[in-house]
Amino acid sequence: MNLALFFQQVVNGLAIGSVYAIFALGYTLIFSILGIINFAHSAIFTLGAYFTYALMGARFGFNGLLAQTALPFGLPFPLAVLGGGLLAGGMGVLVERAAFRPLRNRGADPLLMLVSSLGVAVALVNIIQYLVGAEAYSYPNALAGLPPSINLGVGGVPLIMRTVLVVIFIISMLILFALMRLMNHTKAGKALQAVAEDPVTASLLGINTDRLILLTFFISGFLGGIAGTLVGLSVTITGPYFGITFGLRGLAVLVLGGLGSIPGAVVGGLAIGIVEALVPPDLSGYKDAVAFAILLIVLFFRPQGLLGRTFIQKV
């Protein structure tokens, strides 16, 4: 691999890695507050992609209950992405109300919440299939007016990037920036950090824990929905199951960064994106396993992840 190609792959990896980062942040936020992994996150990722597709006014295929239907209006792609993210955030809130809150109120075993979120994921994915069938969808003319590739090279060295990846990288960075502002410079963000540190003390200090948990699920769903749309934009929505493999690889990001660590999710996402991009083409069949190999290695040698904290179990 020559140097120019190497750099090109690293930059491609950064673009996909930035999507991993915002997706994994959705897992991380919920984990830092509730200490559980929300397996429905990958289904919300998928839903977000379909929401954006519908909001663009695009028509569904030949199978499913909604075959050959479309919304009477169509939004331009940037608005549709935002709308898709907001609707996905709303789904996140619904999932919290239906599958998590009743169990939390009863003080149920965290294992049950994990199982319940898996149940939600199975139901959502198959509802999508039931409604719009299993065919692949791609966003019609999403980036109309932009050239297919951009040269980011300096001097005489070309560095050709697909425009899609540049757009994806910019959107992800905007969202990361907004999230950092929210977490560090607003009252809600400070309250979220307080609840993550210690929910009981936070509620004694007058923080409404239940409302903050809803907010967390909304933000998490928003991040997942946007990530789904961005991946759909780069490769097409390959069907109702397209979130599953991405979602499982997102777990590797979560573990690599450290469960519950926000900077960890960003670093982990970028790292896994780059490593996957550097898999040589003749081994591309194994690309899907890279993230899981990383997951196992991290679990065995540094279970707290790159930036996670170790917890001391108290009796």
Partner: protein, 310 residues
Amino acid sequence: MDSFFNQYGFLIVSMTFSALLALSLYLPLMAGQLSLASPAFYAIGGYIAAVLSTQIFPVESGAPFPLERLLLEMLIAAAVSGVLALLVGLPALRLRGVYLALATIALVEIVRVLSLNLEITGKAIGIFGIPQPFATKLDYLWISGVLLLVSAFFVYRLEHSRMGRAFAALREDELAAGAMGINPTTTKLLAFVLGAMLAGVVGAVSAHFLNTWNARQGTFDASILILAYVIIGGSRTFLGPIAGGLLLTALPEVLRALAGVPGLPPLAVSFLQDGRLIIYGVLIVLSTLFFPQGLITPALLRRWNRKGRA
């Protein structure tokens, strides 16, 4: 009656496989460990049987596959699965909480990707023409049914042994169990390895039963399905996973029959036919909310016992 068994032979044997796989997930869960690895070991067991029977000791076409070789394959599958589980489980089980679930998801995906890419597993196409030891599908019940009875009896005895009580103690409170002199890591490891061996054996039989084996046999979807058997059937007694595996595998047939009831609106018919997995998902959520111990609970069994004696 004969025609019933011939028509549903495939379904009946599949039901016993599901019950066995549910038991393989139930074993680590007895010790409080959520492992989603059963499909990985199931896939590995199947590949062992498929490769051995088609390449290492092939029979001339038409002749039935000798039963003792099938038993040998089952033993090898159990041994390989057990050793692999030891290697993966030892580091993963030192950790608490959700780490084992994550490690086992990674294992399932790695096994799937490897079998899609390796020459010996037939890549994406898989392995075809796995020889048949029996004349009909229903005859597989001689293996799977006996295996189910033996495993059920084994797990039943385990629940009432010192080791089984150690499992239960770990499940309730790992710290307290450790203080009582139970070694958490070895105990959890034993539960995990036993589950893996059972899944490997089931895979070996299933490869012959299905006649072909490929990367679609062990996926994350299968993990969730098996988890559903245990959670819905019951996760506090060995009868729960067995009932869950048997009933939920028969559910699609039941739904298909329901869809055939005349006078149903077309929407309901299409939902009963295509919405099976939606129903599974909703059932999983509802049982965690309303039957956190599953449908068959120890309390229910005690009540039955009392009624039986009165």
